[in-house]
């Protein structure tokens, strides 16, 4: 499956593991429940990547102390109108210093991607009935931003010069 990562279209090599599913080899993303239940087993896996997915009602602080274990944090948008993952993303990046891949999944559409990018998301699993190429255009929607956010340390008034 093609996704957007760091503003380029790439083949996704991560596997989302369902809650009942046996743990496969390779790069996997698990739910917060699974992480809490099988923490030691997940840390003990050899030569394989680990990521975690939060639903929109789960919070940055739920994983803040465990971030060293995750290459990917995936935040799920059940519907594009649910704006909670925007806050979770900024907190992970700006308060908790997460430097790995921050991934948007679920109802991920072109018209929200610019904001997601500003909040610290750097990979996007665009909804499957939509064009990934089209979604890539979202990064160019604006060149001017008033606020500081994960992508910009200073608000515009400190940059007006």
């Amino acid at each position: 499956m093609q996704i957007i990562k760091d503003r380029a279209i790439v083949e996704d090599d991560w596997h989302h593991v369902e809650n009942g599913e046996a743990l496969p080899d390779g790069k996997i993303i698990v739910t917060l429940d699974r992480w809490r239940e099988e923490r030691d087993a997940l840390i003990g896996r050899k030569n394989s990547g680990l990521g975690i997915q939060l639903s929109s009602d789960q919070e940055a602080k739920d994983i803040a102390d465990d971030l060293e274990h995750f290459e990917v944090v995936s935040l799920h948008f059940p519907v594009f109108r649910d704006g909670r993952p925007f806050t979770t993303a900024r907190l992970l990046r700006e308060r908790h210093g997460f430097a790995g891949e921050l991934r948007a999944v679920g109802d991920v559409l072109r018209d929200q991607i610019f904001y997601m990018h500003r909040c610290g998301f750097n990979s996007f699993v665009v909804r499957e009935d939509r064009s990934v190429e089209d979604a890539l255009k979202a990064f160019d929607d604006f060149t001017i931003t008033y606020q500081s956010a994960a992508d910009e340390e200073l608000p515009l008034w400190r940059r007006r010069g």
């Binding site: 919070e59 594009f80 109108r81 649910d82 704006g83 909670r84 925007f86 806050t87 979770t88 900024r90 907190l91 700006e94 308060r95 559409l109 018209d111 929200q112 610019f114 904001y115 997601m116 500003r118 909040c119 929607d141 604006f142 060149t143 001017i144 931003t145 008033y146 606020q147 500081s148 956010a149 340390e153 200073l154 608000p155 515009l156 008034w157 400190r158 007006r160």
Partner: protein, 551 residues
């Protein structure tokens, strides 16, 4: 007033390009109405009963005469020669076509205007005291802070998909003319014990089906923390505001369910760990914004004028207009004039394109080319030389804009109601017109004094009925339009929510019922006692007994 620099212009150009693309994709059918809806709503475009409605932002109510002329041009070019001033100090067009929207927005951009965030579940147009900068009771002009907040809230990446809409108001005066306590978030410029000016922060006010007066989150924060503290409040709301039920999604429900102490604890915890020190305002930025809102070149004028005094003596109509529509200015020899848009036979807040052009001319001639809109759906000329008042009054009368009724019974706040709005249960404009017709005796209305009557066509309360001394609420009873009466609401420093009097009235019975309410006031009032004070003294019962006596 604020002037765009190259960054503001560039951002607006990019926004209009983005929206043009979204409209074209919608017209080609590439995105569904469900997906287009939040995009158009983020830009003030509603689908109403008969057509699209576009709401254009007037940030904190400030307009130049050039902007007013462009609004008139747009009314002619894209609409039916009129427009409607709203209760959020904005302006609405009722008949724009989707195909023409991108061109309309480009025309607005020419005068530094837009429709960004005038709807949708985001931070809406910020409102303030319509007398900001000229009122005698002001601690500090709130407009520079409103502009700082406007820029910070425009396309905020974290707070554009909130649980529900979010309204912010500022005031810098001791008398609250901006209904701050009925906002999601309110900022009052106040002094602390050490005499330093900062903000009192209120949250959780609002109208709608669960009206609430805002609670104080912080008694005082330094001005430099305006944005960081606002960001923490927004973050707690975005994270924890309810998303399961749109009727319980406003911040007032969160504040109510958590309790103000727990809400404050959450906000303060986030604030102590603020994401970026760069949000802290410095003196240079505050001074830069203040430089946009400096006083015009006032002349040294005498504090009184003989010709005005003589006309006040000799002409009762001028005196009534002066008492109702003219407010003292902080500079001697100047006056603040409110132009009432509550004209008999016209929907409250409606103006024709010709009137808008004429008002722009008056602003140029008498008030340094600036205008303000008010949340009570009127317009303000903020800097009129006292000696020019008779001349201005005559010109306003010639434009059918001489109504002498500001804060009087016929200065009705009214939503568009079932004539335009698909949410409404009942018509509201015809009720306001019946009241204007019934109470057409100027002397009688003048004698009633301050009396705020507000009408909403449904429980969403866009007509602020909860905050009316007398409120009228349209309800649906088995497919028929009925009207409830509330008494005792107030939008000001003594903010209160009106109480429902009892059973609702039919469209035929509502105005006679209002007449009875006013009769009870007239019979019970003490000398100089306004309606609200009288109601608070004698209570609901005398009104109720009279109004329901025959039923």
């Amino acid at each position: 007033m604020y002037q765009y620099d190259k960054f503001d212009h560039q951002l607006l150009t990019e926004r209009n390009r983005q929206l043009r693309d979204q409209v074209e994709r919608r017209l080609r059918g590439e995105i569904s109405e469900t997906e287009f809806r939040p995009l158009r709503l983020m830009n003030g475009l509603y689908l109403q009963l008969h057509a699209y409605m576009l709401r254009v932002a007037i940030p904190y109510g400030m307009l130049s005469s050039a902007q007013m002329r462009q609004l008139a041009y747009i009314a002619r070019r894209y609409d039916r020669d009129y427009a409607h001033f709203t209760t959020r100090q904005n302006i609405q067009y009722n008949w724009p076509k989707l195909e023409e929207l991108p061109d309309l927005l480009d025309d607005l951009a020419k005068v530094e205007m837009h429709a960004i965030q005038t709807s949708g579940n985001c931070i809406r147009n910020i409102s303030t005291d319509q007398f900001a900068g000229v009122a005698g009771d002001e601690i500090e002009d709130p407009r520079p802070y409103a502009e700082i907040m406007r820029q910070w809230s425009t396309f905020h990446p974290e707070f554009s998909y909130l649980p529900r809409k979010f309204k912010i108001a500022f005031t810098g005066a001791t008398e609250d003319r901006a209904a701050v306590a009925f906002h999601d978030l309110g900022f009052k410029l106040v002094k602390n014990d050490a005499g330093e000016i900062g903000f009192q922060v209120l949250a959780g006010g609002g109208m709608g089906r669960t009206p609430m007066v805002a609670k104080v989150v912080r008694e005082w924060i330094p001005k430099k923390h305006l944005l960081s503290y606002a960001e923490s409040i927004m973050r707690i709301y975005n994270a924890y505001g309810r998303r399961d039920n749109m009727y319980k999604a406003r911040i007032k429900i969160l504040v109510h369910e958590l309790g103000i102490e727990e809400f404050r604890r959450e906000v303060d915890e986030d604030f102590e760990n603020t994401l970026s020190q760069s949000l802290t305002l410095d003196d240079a930025e505050i001074a830069r914004m203040q430089a946009y809102f400096t006083a015009p070149d006032y002349e040294d004028l005498p504090a009184t004028d003989d010709s005005v005094d003589m006309l006040l003596e000799s002409n009762k109509r001028f005196r009534q207009w002066y008492e109702r529509n003219v407010t003292p200015h902080k500079v001697p020899g100047y006056s603040i004039v409110t132009i009432s848009l509550k004209v008999a036979g016209v929907a409250p807040g409606d103006t024709t394109a010709d009137q808008m052009d004429a008002i722009a001319d008056l602003a140029d001639e008498y008030s340094f080319g600036e205008l303000r809109t008010t949340h009570k759906q009127n317009l303000v000329l903020s800097d009129v030389p006292l000696a020019k008042l008779p001349e201005l009054w005559n010109k306003l009368k010639a434009l059918s804009l001489g109504a002498a009724n500001v804060e009087a019974l016929t200065d009705i706040i009214c939503c568009p109601g079932l004539d335009y709005c698909q949410l409404a249960n009942a018509r509201s404009i015809p009720i306001s017109q019946q009241i204007s017709d019934k109470f057409d005796d100027l002397d009688y209305v003048h004698d009633l004094g301050d009396l705020r009557l507000n009408i909403s066509g449904c429980i969403n309360a866009c007509g602020h009925h909860h905050a009316g001394h007398i409120g009228i609420l349209g309800v649906d009873k088995k497919g028929e339009e009925f009207y409830q009466i509330t008494l005792g609401g107030s939008p000001g420093n003594d903010a209160s929510i009106g109480k429902i009097m009892g059973r609702a009235f039919s469209g035929d019975d509502i105005v006679p019922a209002i007449e009875k309410v006013i009769d009870v006031y007239l019979e019970n009032r003490q000398p100089e006692e306004p309606f609200l004070a009288c109601y608070r003294r004698i209570g609901m019962d005398p009104f109720k007994e009279r109004v329901y006596a025959d039923h």
